[in-house]
Amino acid sequence: MPEMATILEVLFIIFKVVVVTMILFSLPLPLTWMERKIAAHIQVRLGPFRVGPHGVLQPFADMMKLMFKEDIIPYKADKRLFRIAPIISMVPVLAAFAVVPFGNDITIPFLNEEVSLYIADMDVAILYILAITGIGVYGIIFGGWASNSKYALLGGIRSTAQMISYELPMSLAAIGVVMITNSLSLVNIVNAQQGWHWNIIYQPLGFFIFFIASLAEINRIPFDLPEDEGTLAAGYHVEYSAMRFSFFMLTEYVAMVLASVLAVLLFFGGWNGPGFLPSIVWFVVKVSVFIYFFMWIRFTLPRYRYDQLMTIGWKILLPLSLFNVLITGFFLI
């Protein structure tokens, strides 16, 4: 018979997993609303306004619509692959949150139990996140290939090339942070940034590279070539409809949250902040600012051409990130 403490610990872990998953699944609802509102206001429109006050219930209406729409699978599609592709693209992004810390340890009032605000603190957390998000591209590739459609296939191929090109500078930019904080664990990285020693001060170049590369990794404008409306209709998800399509959308939003979370954890001191607010609030505020920034950029910049995308990735970001690692090394010596 295991001890009470062990059981409690396991229960806490299960509870945390459930809570994080629920939050991640429900996050796209407010985020789609936010994105539409920000888009509207940047274009001097109002955006959704009719469902609920200021249209806040619009995402629920959309969700209902997507649930009841017909799930169309093209006749010549690779059916099995077509079905699992959205799930393949979604699972890695959710799995990445297993190692994301959200705040300092907190004490639960009644049980008097210290609870850490992360599911797992891995020694190789950054590596794990970079590796597992890399898998998300398979959903896009398989979705594109299995649809048996030109546009979808082109979108899939583009995203393949894009992911490979930008994973390198992104990882190398993260290596700069790892070098100065001397740990791969996200908790340690955040703790090393206490007292305003945010990594952005020591790694401005690294942050820029990381940010640009993560924009490309999560397929957002200006690097959203896999779903380029102008040339590919909708890219890899042309043939998708109903819930399978919404899984792709869900992935995109959760990936955006993950990119914001990573940027905050690695470069902006995580949950560190002035003490008048709890750590988790600081964390949420910083992440929201980043999410807004992502949306803001989306409605400001045009899309890059494919060759420009490759040029930026290989000829600018990669050398710059290597240079960044070199410089960081010199400073450490």
Partner: protein
Amino acid sequence: MSDGYILEKRKESAVETFFNRIFFIDFIKGLSLTLKYNLSRSITLRYPDEEKWIPYKRFRGQHTLNRDEYGRELCVGCELCAKSCPTDCITVIPMEDSAGRGIADRVARVWEVNLTRCMFCGLCEDACPTEALKLGREYELSCFSLSNAVMDKDRILIAGQGEPLDLEATGAEPKGWMKVSLDSIDYITPLDFKKGDRVPANYEGGVNAAASLERTEDGIRVVPDLSKTKKWW
């Protein structure tokens, strides 16, 4: 750049270009512009649920046939509007009437305008010698059948039905028929006439009024509330 039309771009030096590239100056400029728009007021009206645009007086919408202060029809059936119409959408058939319906002993028996052809150019309005014809403010003209799109005299002749307006209340001096000033008449735009909501002819317009969408048996209509208006843009 005194008052030239061509905005000449100042030549950047190599150092400036380098500086701009390194610090993403153009990028920041773009972002600040979009942020400005993000914080500025939206130009979208919540029409038809909450707001409605009240056009200016000069607006050329649905035609109206007016009356003078005594409630007589100003239209004398001269057919000048029909002649001047570039799209041939106005039909006028005059008739004799000495019962005092009109200002002269000739009135229009039929006055029709086909709104599917009309382009609201306002030439008919200019041609009208008695200022009977006016393009009003009404712009909600959609309908379900084409026959409804032909506006006849019954539907566009303004209210009054032969009864003189209360001159004492308005304080207007009786004038000759040529000199009728529409500003002084509190007339009702014809499509609204039965429903009792009024945008007075002398109302300046160009505002955004609170409105409500009403569903009646005849269809839906947007009723503006002129007491709650705001300047818009």
